[in-house]
Symmetry: C2
Subunit: 419 residues, 2 copies
């Protein structure tokens, strides 16, 4: 195994043992010193970031990507403020739940504990480095982070800043570690580092998730990809349709909870689609229409026929696939066949249709009369998220602090033996 990974992994395991028993006050003090360190060291961080920006420009990165990479004084202030907000979030570690007293007198509880060492593999944006570091710290997990090559100088400066903050607070610097090697082979070693890493969170596109699933022996949280559906039922209130479609599609088209496919009941298809097309026109959303939808939108300048993979594509762009369906059943079948278990919504005024949709669609988030964009840790009241999971195990949807924990059974006896 790569030497850096072995050394950092072993140090992480040691640090995890310390971190697991820290009280909340101590962790919060460390978060405050980290927030302070971000402000105090901003000159160093911005200089490092400038190196990444210059290298990125030289390598021909797009302005959009350079903007995601860019740190400024204002952005660092915002990042420090986010760190301080984590101080206010409840600490899930140590909570006891499902407590019971057995007939033989044993007192049994589940007690929430950290997972241990969490390996996070992510791409470009350097603010993710701080996000992960502080959410792992607050939940008593050690983070081993492997960011994108484009952000390596920024990430190093940020990780050093976090480590400085940890040391000021009297905690081991190894609670948060950055893998500095940008060798891609190291990612494969990370996802197979059983014994050093307890859970892998890949934060990136479909390719990264598939790579992790194919290669990992450490448990992986998969997600972050969403082919999201909105089904407009026969009874939908048009006044709710336009804002929800527009918001779901255009508010931030590059993210996983943005709308990809619009399904419309045939009885209201003409009215709804003409209205939707008009509402989306000002945002220049391209409409990829199945024949029946295309017949309705034939004269719309941005409407065209679907291509073969459109219903199986996460667009991450101002493109919307559209299909007219004959019934709720057909909509459910379409979502079952083409969905990715991320976020699916219905717009309806029909009680039974809403109940059926919520009951029969088993995506991480199922919504009635609301924008798909709400599938988010902040919007769900978790305060912050490290990832959105679409897998069935462990956690689904936004993963906040609690989803970074597991539990142990605590059994308190006075000499009981099993009969």
């Amino acid at each position: 195994m790569n030497n850096e990974l072995t050394i950092k992994g072993q140090a992480a395991k040691k640090a995890a043992r310390v971190l697991a028993t820290l009280d909340t006050t101590t962790k919060n003090k460390a978060l405050a010193t980290i927030a302070d360190a971000i402000i105090e060291r901003q000159a160093v961080i911005l200089t490092a970031n400038q190196q990444d920006i210059e290298a990125g420009r030289a390598n021909g990165l797009s302005e959009a990507i350079l903007d995601r990479l860019l740190l400024t004084e204002a952005r660092l202030q915002a990042i420090a403020k986010d760190v301080r907000e984590v101080i206010g979030l409840p600490d899930p570690v140590g909570e006891e739940f499902e407590s019971r007293r057995m007939p033989n007198g044993l007192r049994i509880s589940k007690r929430r504990i950290p997972i241990g060492v969490i390996g996070v593999i992510y791409e470009s944006r350097p603010n993710v480095t701080i996000d992960i570091a502080v959410l792992c710290l607050k939940s008593s997990n050690v983070a081993i982070m492997r960011g994108g090559k484009e952000a390596i100088h920024s990430n190093k400066a940020l990780a050093e800043t976090v480590q400085a903050g940890l040391q000021t607070a009297g905690l081991p610097a190894e609670c948060v570690q950055l893998i500095e090697s940008t060798d891609r082979a190291l990612i494969k070693e990370m996802v197979r580092a059983n014994g050093l890493i307890d859970m892998i969170i890949p934060r990136g596109g479909a390719a990264l998730h598939h790579f992790a699933i194919e290669n990992a022996t450490v448990p992986v949280i998969t997600g972050g990809m969403g082919i999201c559906h909105l089904y407009v039922d026969q009874t939908a209130d048009p006044a709710k349709v336009w804002p929800i479609v527009v918001n779901s599609k255009v508010q931030r088209p590059s993210v996983c909870n943005a709308l990809d496919t619009l399904l419309v009941h045939q009885a209201v298809a003409s009215q709804i689609l003409l209205g939707v097309a008009e509402a989306l026109a000002q945002y220049k959303v391209e409409l990829r229409c199945e024949p029946r939808a295309l017949a309705i939108l034939a004269h719309h300048p941005l409407a065209k026929a679907t291509e073969s993979q459109d219903f199986d594509t996460e667009f991450m762009a101002l493109i919307l696939a559209i299909k007219v369906v004959d019934s709720l059943d057909e909509a459910l079948d379409h979502i079952y066949t083409h969905g990715s278990s991320h976020t699916d919504a219905i717009i309806t005024e029909d009680y039974s249709a809403a109940q059926r949709f919520v009951s029969e669609v088993n995506s991480a988030a199922v919504m009635v009369n609301a924008s798909t964009r709400f599938n988010d840790g902040g919007q769900f009241g978790l305060g912050a998220e490290v990832a959105i999971s679409t897998q069935p195990l462990h956690a689904r949807g936004p993963m906040g602090l609690k989803e970074l924990t597991t539990y142990k059974w605590v059994v308190l006896g006075n000499g009981q033996v099993r009969g």
Copy 2:
């Protein structure tokens, strides 16, 4: 992919969609018809079982293994009774929890749902076939089961019985399926059957678990192996020590929660070890002693020096490794180094020692003054278990019905969009 696995996996996916929305009454009726079918078809089942027993005898299986394989009228009665007990267990599916109303009026809840299709790979005992089938059914999961070759006739007869019961109750027979091929290559295909199987539970020895971890792309629940420790603290009440040590070690030495290593504080080592050795002598437990322990037990006929791997071995037999430690810290270090996150216990009358042990040992079950044998679904009040997990993700310790579920976020709005 193997044709049988593909066909059964696709049928399982379809059945899972039906099963996910069934109410509890319907599932309980099916459980009752399955219990009836086991009794009605007992002649067929016992004949099939006799084939396995004869084949096993011809292949030289030990009497102990043949006894595990054997079904009798009485055993089938007991199995049918266990099925009826699952009817009485609460159905976890559909429960809503962590409900909240957001400031924008969205009502958000987590709703418990089945995982989908659960692949279970297990060895010899045919009663496991019924256990898995009914626990999966009650939790609305489809089971695809792959049992041991030695039990193939019994398992086929039992799976057909379950399917007959399902059909009598009007449910798809494909809710419970047995893989009939005994080709070992199929296990590798099962653990890589993403899209057909949602979770793998290996029930067997260390080799099966390692195989699953190494090869699986489907999420796996690992566990079932335990190097269990009991630390006898300086302040332990001797009257509690003997019964707990004896019960932990000898009540059922072949199972994962049986005791493997006894750690004793040096201040009480002589008294405790002489007493323990005497108590264990009648059960002919071999004592593998580190030098300091061996010095105390030098004259005991069953005491010998430890071998190199003894502290890293799950004995599954009447063997106990023994070590004298200088302090609670040394005991904690030993468990941290040699433990397998299964079950570890302390015997103490010291409040702070108990608190520290419970806080610092992060095994699936951590106990004070109780036998390690209590780490079990029935003993913890779950009613029944499909496995004992030692991994940090999803579930730890005994996995009952609730641990066979996941959740989705249900979001009820009235037109909200994200600002």
